[in-house]
């Protein structure tokens, strides 16, 4: 839908990983069902529908109902994966997510598809750059923002295995496979992808590979930046954040508003326990017209912009 430039060869749309993984889970566990609000194609669930038509519940264009029906299916013993565009799933159905899912504490997996600015030119109604802020403060609701296909698969599998509510933010924006020396996913545990003691860059989702590229550029200047993938936003890995503060400077990077999201979460921890100079990188709010790629470049959410912010925050150490 977004007229973005073609992705580099070998990069991936994590929605494909979502559908492949949920099909693999459904083969093994008859309790797995999918719930959609006319969002079959946009969730890449056409093949799931072909294989298990009786295990896909399509409620039509009705986000309040898609979430509530998910809660009901869990009550009836199912493990529902409720999949819809993140912008509508959250903003339209926040009270259902709060009351029916998080407060009732039911075994429902919410999949926020095409999150962030993936819908680009379609504008702020279709961007989902508020969801981390809205969701991370709901008790019981595990919130995961995976960075690449491997982590997306791990997150989906971990969500299915967890008896409780989970929201997973899945981007359609192409990302590369991240290199991991010790690949291990655990809900609530941040992943240090690169060591460094001059400052820490904490990112999640599609910003992680950009943060790694920024660290590479900083290394050329003799600056050793630690890169932390904070894919679980709730519960938050406070120990890793406090260890990062020991470097003396922190930059957070998210495909989200600068207000209340990952940066806000990290700032709460630092302000409470160990304040250090910090920059929060993200979007300022409702955005002008532009493709997803253009918006990321325009707001300096790229390797150069992250590296510049790192150099700036180092001057305040």
């Amino acid at each position: 839908m977004s007229a973005a430039a073609p992705a580099p060869a070998g990069w991936h749309d994590c929605r494909d990983t979502f559908s492949k993984t949920v099909e693999a889970l459904a083969e093994a566990d008859p309790r797995i069902v999918t719930v959609v609000s006319d969002s079959v194609g946009s969730s890449k669930l056409v093949n799931f529908r072909k294989r298990w038509p009786e295990r896909m519940v399509n409620v039509g264009i009705a986000e309040q109902t898609v979430v509530a029906v998910g809660a009901g299916l869990a009550n009836g013993g199912k493990i529902p994966f409720v999949s819809a565009a993140a912008c509508f799933l959250t903003a339209r159905a926040m009270e259902q997510i709060k009351a029916d899912i998080a407060y009732t504490n039911v075994n429902v997996k919410l999949i926020g598809q095409s999150s962030g600015v993936a819908y680009g030119e379609l504008g702020p109604t279709h961007h989902s750059i508020e969801d981390m802020a809205w969701l991370r403060l709901l008790n019981n609701l595990t919130l995961i923002v995976p960075s690449d296909p491997w982590e997306t698969e791990q997150a989906i599998r971990a969500a299915a295995a967890l008896d409780g509510p989970v929201f997973i933010r899945v981007s359609r924006m192409p990302v590369p496979d991240l290199k991991r020396s010790n690949a291990k996913f655990e809900i609530g545990k941040a992943e240090t992808l690169r060591d460094g003691d001059d400052l820490a860059i904490i990112a999640n989702g599609v910003m992680v590979h950009r943060a790694l590229a920024a660290a590479e550029a900083l290394a050329a200047d003799g600056i050793a930046a630690r890169v932390i993938n904070m894919s679980t936003v709730n519960p938050l890995d406070e120990a890793t954040i406090l260890a990062a503060a020991k470097t003396g400077a922190v930059v957070t990077v998210e495909e989200h508003s600068v207000r209340g999201g990952l940066g806000g979460a990290v700032a709460e921890v630092l302000a409470t326990h160990d304040p250090v100079p910090m920059r929060i990188l993200g979007f300022p709010g409702f955005l002008p017209t532009g493709s997803a790629d253009w918006l990321l470049e325009h707001f300096h959410l790229n390797a150069a912009g992250i590296a510049d912010a790192a150099r700036q925050v180092l001057t305040r150490k």
Binding site: V33, E54, R55, V57, V59, G60, A62, Q64, T65, A68, V69, G70, A71, G72, L73, A74, N75, G76, G77, K78, P80, E95, Q96, A99, D100, Y103, T104, N105, V106
Partner: protein, 280 residues
């Protein structure tokens, strides 16, 4: 799967339901009087429906409240916890003595029901327009599994002004959820005024029929009529059932009857004593 049935029930269900409905009114009004909080008008309009469900219709086992084969009841009008908690205690889900903690600090008996505090609660309600959509999901789970449990949900009538109900009504009609029964507590009063003066609902029966539901209208204080319509087998109906229970807010107490002031009015000592004399 078998569920325990009371010996009294087998003898004369309607007499038992009548006794329990009176007990629910008296006990819930005592709770509201002691807490000086609550929604007694709606407790009284719903008391007969609740007594009928729990003492004549639902297959449930208080000793095994999450048995997968249980009939589900969802209290969508979650503010009427006086009557709801009273009927759960009467049915044996928790000790009656616990009712005296209603809305006290740290009580399991919050102003709105919480599934994680109390056995017998299926989903946390309070904001209106949530019970029916969740109940549709429960009924779909039963439909997928071809299970024989039934799902019942009680909404207020003013609550139907929430659009989420009509989204869910579409899905229930589309999927022909015959295992789902919606009961509307049609007392014609919402918090501040009559429904028909606020955002009118009539013709309410036609609305549900247009959404693909089978509609029954009953006197919501007639135990036999409620028992007959709610206990009838849904097999072969091919549609979800909407029971419009015509009721009165404050039913059972003269000065509360059909009086909007008792939506969340609470009694003083004199009013409490008079109500208890009338609810004898």
């Amino acid at each position: 799967m078998t569920f325990p049935a009371s010996a009294e029930l087998r003898n004369d269900p309607v007499a038992l339901i009548r006794d329990k409905a009176l007990w629910i009114r008296r006990r819930s009004f005592q709770m509201v009087y002691e807490a000086q909080l609550g929604h007694p008008g709606g407790d009284f309009s719903a008391a007969d429906v609740l007594a009928t469900l729990y003492f004549g219709v639902l297959r449930h086992d208080p000793a095994d409240p999450r048995n997968p084969g249980r009939d589900r009841f969802v209290m969508s009008k979650g503010h009427c916890t006086g009557a709801f908690y009273a009927v759960l205690a009467a049915a044996g889900f928790f000790p009656e003595a616990q009712l005296s903690t209603y809305m006290q600090p740290l009580s399991m008996l919050n102003g709105h029901p919480n599934r994680n505090y109390l056995p017998g609660v299926e989903t946390n309600t309070g904001p209106l327009g949530h019970g029916l959509p969740v109940s549709v999901g429960i009924a779909i789970a039963g439909q997928i599994d071809n299970a024989d449990f039934r799902t019942f949900v009680l909404t207020g009538d003013g609550e139907l002004q929430e659009g989420s109900n009509w989204e869910a009504a579409l899905t229930a009609g589309h999927r022909k959820l015959e295992n789902l029964t919606l009961i509307i507590d049609r007392n014609r009063l919402q918090q501040g005024a009559r429904t028909e003066e606020t955002a009118s609902l009539d013709p309410l029966d036609d609305k549900w029929r247009a959404f693909g539901w089978h509609v029954e209208m009953v006197d919501g204080h007639d135990h036999r009529a409620l028992y007959e319509v709610l206990s009838a087998s849904p097999k072969g109906r091919g549609k979800p059932l909407c029971v419009i229970a015509n009721t009165f807010k404050g039913k059972g107490v003269s000065f509360m009857h059909d009086n909007v002031a008792w939506h969340h009015g609470v009694p003083n000592k004199e009013q409490y004593e008079q109500a208890m004399r009338e609810l004898a």
